[in-house]
Symmetry: C4
Amino acid sequence: MNSPKLIDPRLELILAARHFYQQGWMVGTAGNLSVRLPDDSFWITASGRSKGELELGDFVRIYADGTVEKPSPDVKPSAQTVIHQALYTLFPEARSCYHVHSVEANLVSRFVQGDTLPLPPFEMLKGLGIWQENPDCAMSIFANHSQVSCIADEIKERFTTIPPQLSALLNRDHGVTIWAPSAKTARNYIELVEYIFRYMVAARGTGFCRAGEERE
Amino acid sequence: MNSPKLIDPRLELILAARHFYQQGWMVGTAGNLSVRLPDDSFWITASGRSKGELELGDFVRIYADGTVEKPSPDVKPSAQTVIHQALYTLFPEARSCYHVHSVEANLVSRFVQGDTLPLPPFEMLKGLGIWQENPDCAMSIFANHSQVSCIADEIKERFTTIPPQLSALLNRDHGVTIWAPSAKTARNYIELVEYIFRYMVAARGTGFCRAGEERE
Amino acid sequence: MNSPKLIDPRLELILAARHFYQQGWMVGTAGNLSVRLPDDSFWITASGRSKGELELGDFVRIYADGTVEKPSPDVKPSAQTVIHQALYTLFPEARSCYHVHSVEANLVSRFVQGDTLPLPPFEMLKGLGIWQENPDCAMSIFANHSQVSCIADEIKERFTTIPPQLSALLNRDHGVTIWAPSAKTARNYIELVEYIFRYMVAARGTGFCRAGEERE
Amino acid sequence: MNSPKLIDPRLELILAARHFYQQGWMVGTAGNLSVRLPDDSFWITASGRSKGELELGDFVRIYADGTVEKPSPDVKPSAQTVIHQALYTLFPEARSCYHVHSVEANLVSRFVQGDTLPLPPFEMLKGLGIWQENPDCAMSIFANHSQVSCIADEIKERFTTIPPQLSALLNRDHGVTIWAPSAKTARNYIELVEYIFRYMVAARGTGFCRAGEERE
């Protein structure tokens, strides 16, 4: 009924951030969310804001060339902006990009030494676009360099060579990032990957073997 | 006071879905709920909807012969509709059928290799119609075939041969389904089985032996 | 300011039940709460009601002699009413009695074989009236007989012989019951004992030894 | 827009306490929060109040010399007031001080025998002012003497000798205390340290070694 142009795309992010905050995935100002606009600029959460109570003024607009709209010392774009940019460049269909920090995401990033995390073969992965029966699926893990541009470079390099199976990646010890065709879908993706991480942590806590060995 | 006919039966499902979503049992659009009407048709949640914010338009009506009311590409019935149909056929007293996905339900479905899961002997099982002292009770587990009609067929075959002890079944790696004489009771059943699954997971996490061996 | 007589004492119970329900301690209609009136009658939750949405009509008034006010097939007193009566008789200062079912309460009741559960030596126990440093404190456990009057008899017998250290007792596999000088205090007591149970379960899950051995 | 002087600084504490209560970190009246005013007096929560529903009257004002504004038997300052005073004296930049009790804080205080707890090397520690890559950071632990002034003395003595790496300390078996340049920041600090404790407990529950050994 309403023209979608009339609804500010930041509203969906404000609601998602509040929900993630309540889940304990965006504590102490952690995490960042963005949504891409038709002109390929994107809104991203400003650095240092409490994610449970974002307002429209807590976002920064970044243009396709990387310039910041109305730069201000008070409203600085998230430190992870270059990762969002890298993902939007790599995946033209991506219109939204969410990064959250759960305890479980940090833990599972330690379940393996290497740079991919095998996932349990859940039908639920269809929500992330994996439609096989008993899917054999893994999520990419990247080291969490303190220089964020190095992370972005590694993502671009690896994903250009080997396209990811899922629209999701892990930073070791630093949470998950997903990209999706809409902000609404992005929220579903986060919920799904966090569900899988919770399962993996609980499975290990009850004495089941590592995720990669759970397959029948 | 109010005639029950005047209250839309989908409202109870909308409230239940919101509660289950908040518990983390219906993440990323997962799960499906239905309620049967006096004419034996039933309302079931449409596929792909966020369960935390269902509206009346997010349901599809299925007639007793399996036909869909006003079929539409936008509002498709849940993929699990045939399981709801099978249960309504098997159990004429069932007026509502709920399917949710918790981490714990997935985990406990792995606690045993076979097709039944022994439950701890809780008095609480009286809420599911089990009134013995120290009840010796098990829940049926079914493989989660990607072709949902195969699951429905196996349910019909097994339950026709051996009636289930409980109004509940597990799909391995894919959550629990319950059926109940009303939508309100269905919510209680879900809460009870999920409580039992949480207990079983926590018991194993603290080093207690498998559920089937916990009996005194 | 307001005369306390003007505030219906059931309101405090309705709010407490909603909170406990949200914590997962009163799932599927489980649990029961009561508050004693100046004439020594008490209001207790009716059997089979959803504890997340109690109303004033979901309570039954029980007189000191055990008779039920306006008996009705629709509003039956909780099956555990005789336990509340036993506790009000034993402890004249008790004005409120709450019984809830958490996963953790059920688990810790299995941590010991005997009929007392040693608690960790938390300063927090002062909230339950234990003021020593490093308190050496245990909670009574009673078997959960299906005939509730047997439980009530055992409580009366044991507590008459050996007064309990705490205003709390466990039914094995069936939750905790506390009694307190007011409904407001009763809520605090439940929160405190459930906190201690959560700690004990988590301690065991992380490989610490049994509660009774944790003392320095 | 609004002059900050017009907003009562207790409001931020009321909201924080409600949030912490909902997380299970301030159960049964546990915990205490304070905020320092320009004249170096501070508001602190009164003893024995339910932290989920604080009101403006549930605070006591303490002057820099330790005197209580309008002393009253009904509204007594928190027993931990001397710890807040000690921290405000030690750290002139601290304007707010929060103390909460989580299950996880109590557990991690037992992970080590000594008086410092090594933390995992999370980037998230930057939210607590630690900006190194793979930070090697530890939190001070103090024994929880029943005489609170002894704890305060030990804090003053140790922190005067060895300044703490973080604006946070643990009381063994009795929760975490943080101090921060504002009430808003204090809430972020609590969220961050509790996140880290949750991680440490979950890591141990899944069989990972102790926090101090997790470093790469």
